[in-house]
Subunit: 254 residues, 3 copies
C-alpha cells in the first residue's frame, strides 16, 4: 500500500520520523512516499495547491496523509476523504478541498483518542487512520460521516470592462514563477499593472532575462523570467493583480 | 528490512546519495527510510533529541543509521547498539545515548577498514555495517564489545527555593516552540524571567498571538505562541531559563 | 526496480509529488529513492558533480532520473544514457556527463509527446521514460540514437613553473569544505593565495579552528577548517585558485 506524506514539519525535529515509525509499525509492509515536509509553517493554501497538483496522479487506493494543521487540538475535526478511489487523511481546515470538491467524495470525521497528544494529531490521529486504511480497514468504519467539511477555494477571476479578466497570483514557486488563477486556452494579452507580457509557449520563446507569460503545467497562466525570477524582477507576490484578454476560459474551479 | 537515515549532510552534495547507493547495493531489497538530512551541521544534541523521539516507534529489528559525526577520522569509535530489539549504527559521540541508556543495551565497536575515507565513515563504515545487519549478519559478529560508550544527557532541572524547579530550553522547533527539560503532569505556574505563562492543554486554549505553556508530544513542557513563534516573540533560545512550580515530576532521565 | 530522483525542484510546490505519482502509476511496484531535490535552481554543474559521486554506487539496472533543466521546452534534447549497466534519464545539457564519458556509453534521444507541458518535461517526458525502463521496455526502443550528446567537464588544473599545479574550487559543500579539481596521492604543499595549508589525513589532524587540506572522499583535494567552515573563514568559493606541489596526479578527467 502506498502512503504519501505532505507536512509543514520540516524534518530536523524528529516529528516526521515519529509519524513514519507509527505508519511502519501499524501497517507493516506499506510504502511511505515523502512528497514534502517543506510546506511553510501553517500555510494551508500552499499545501492545498500542492494537493491539487498531485492527488489524482497516484494510483487508485493510494493514501495521502496531509498534515498542515495550525488548529491542532482545537475543535476542528480530523477527517478522511474518499474521492476518485483515493484516500486523503488530514485536518478539516480546507487543505483537502481539491478532493472534496469532486462529485461522489465522501468524508468521515475521526474520533480523537483521549491519550492523543493535543499538539500532535499527525502522529496520534492521522497516521493511525492512514495505517488502518493500509491494513484494509473499511473507510466507513473509521469514523462518522461529516456533512459539511471546510472548503477553501482559489479566488476566481473577475470580468472587467474591455474584455479583460482580472486575476491574481496565487503562488510563487521555487523558481520565482508566479502562478495565477487565470486559465487560458490560447494566445492573448497578459498585463501586470501597465506592463504587457507576451503570452508564449515556453521560457525559450523569449530572450534570457525577459519576462514571459505561459500556460503552466497545471493549465494556469504563469509569469516567468527566462533564466531568472519573475517574482524578484517584476515584484510579483501572492495577490498581485494580473489581467488577461482574449482566449480565456472560466477560471479553474477547484 | 527497514533502514532509517538521520544525518546532517543535507542532500545537494551527493553524500546521502552515495550512502544510499552503498545500502541498496550491499543489502538488496532493504527499504531505506529518510528521517532527516537537515540536522544542523555537527549538532549532536539536536540529532540526539530527534533520536529520543523516534527510535522506539519503529518496529523491532529496524536499523537506525545516524550520522552526525564531527569527529570523523579521529580516534572516536564507530559503534552499533542493540537495544529493545532495534539496532542503531553511528559514531560514539553520544548521539545514540537514548538507546544506550536503557537496561540491556549492548554495544560493539566497528573495525575501520584501511581503505575507508577518513572523512566519510557514513559511506565506508556505518552504511556497510547497517547493510550487514539487514542481510542478517549477527550483531555480535560486527565488532568487539565496547564497555564505556560516550553518553550525552539532557541537563536536569534544579530545585530552587519556594517550590520552583529551574529548567531550560533544550531545543527550539521549526514552529518556534521552545521545548524545555521540564516534565510536568498537571497544571502549574510557568515563568520565563519575570513573565508568567499560563500552562494549558493546547495552543487553541489561548488567543492568537498569546503565549502558552503546554505539555508537548514527548511529555516535556514547551512554550509556544499561538499562530506565531515563541522563540521570536519571547526571545527564547537553547539555554534560556524556564521555571515551573507545582505538579512537577522528576526531570526526564534520558 | 530502483528509480532514483535528483532535481532542483524543491518539494513544496508539488512538482516532485506529481513526478512520483507518474512513476508509481506507470511502473507499479518500483521503488522510488530520493537523492536530492535541493540542487540550487538551474545549477547544472552542482548536479553533475553529485551525479559523478553516486551513479555507479547503485546496483546494476538502477534508473537515475536527473532533472535540472533550465532549457526545458527549447530544442535541447531529452535523453536516456545506458552506461555500466545503469540507466540515466534527463536533459541533454551535460548533467549526465559522468556516465556519458565512460567507454561503451550509449545514448538515445526521447520523443516529446505533443501534449507534454513545455515547462515540465520531468513529469511528461523523463518520468514516463524512467517508468518504461522500470517496466522492462528496452533501452533501444525508447528513442533514436544520439551521436553527440552535450558534455560538461570539470576544468583541468594547469601546470605552472616551480612544480606547482594550479587548480580551483569546484564546489563548496554544506559544511563549508571547498572541494577542488586537484587530485593528490600523497603529501604536498597546498596554497591558497599566499597562505600555506597543511595537507593531512583528516580534520582531527589539526586543532579546532585551523585550516587543513585533505584528500576527500571522492579522491579530490579539499580545504576544510576543523569544526568550522573553510568557505567562510578563508573566503573560498567556486573558482577560487588553489595550488599544490608534489605528490600530484593528473587531474581527474571526468
Amino acid at each position: 500500500m502506498l502512503i504519501t506524506l505532505l507536512t509543514d514539519f520540516g524534518t530536523a525535529d524528529g516529528y516526521v520520523a515519529e509519524l513514519k515509525g507509527v505508519l511502519l509499525s501499524q501497517a507493516p509492509g506499506c510504502q511511505v512516499i515523502d512528497l514534502s515536509h517543506d510546506i511553510p509553517a501553517h500555510e494551508i493554501d500552499t499545501a492545498r495547491l500542492a494537493v491539487a497538483r498531485f492527488w489524482q496522479r497516484f494510483p487508485a487506493a493510494t493514501i495521502h496523509l496531509v498534515v498542515v494543521d495550525p488548529g491542532v487540538g482545537s475543535d476542528r475535526q480530523a477527517i478522511v476523504v474518499m474521492s476518485e478511489g483515493r484516500f486523503l487523511v488530514g485536518p478539516d481546515n480546507g487543505v483537502l478541498s481539491p478532493a472534496l470538491l469532486l462529485p461522489g467524495a465522501q468524508v468521515v470525521s475521526l474520533p480523537v483518542p483521549p491519550d492523543a497528544a493535543p499538539t500532535f494529531h499527525g502522529r496520534d490521529v492521522f497516521a493511525p487512520a492512514a495505517a488502518a486504511l493500509a491494513r484494509g480497514e473499511l473507510f466507513e468504519s473509521l469514523g462518522v460521516p461529516l456533512a459539511d467539511p471546510v472548503i477553501r477555494r482559489t479566488p476566481e477571476p473577475v470580468r472587467e470592462d474591455g474584455g479583460w479578466l482580472r486575476g491574481e497570483v496565487i503562488v510563487v514557486d521555487r523558481f520565482g514563477n508566479a502562478v495565477t488563477n487565470l486559465h487560458a486556452v490560447h494566445g492573448g494579452d497578459v498585463r501586470v499593472g501597465e506592463r504587457n507580457i507576451p503570452l508564449r509557449r515556453t521560457y525559450a520563446d523569449v530572450e534570457s532575462g525577459e519576462a514571459v507569460a505561459l500556460i503552466g503545467s497545471s493549465g494556469l497562466v504563469e509569469i516567468a523570467v527566462r533564466d531568472g525570477s519573475a517574482s524578484y524582477s517584476l515584484g510579483l507576490g501572492r495577490g498581485t493583480v494580473v489581467r488577461i484578454r482574449d482566449g480565456v476560459q472560466d477560471a479553474m474551479r477547484r
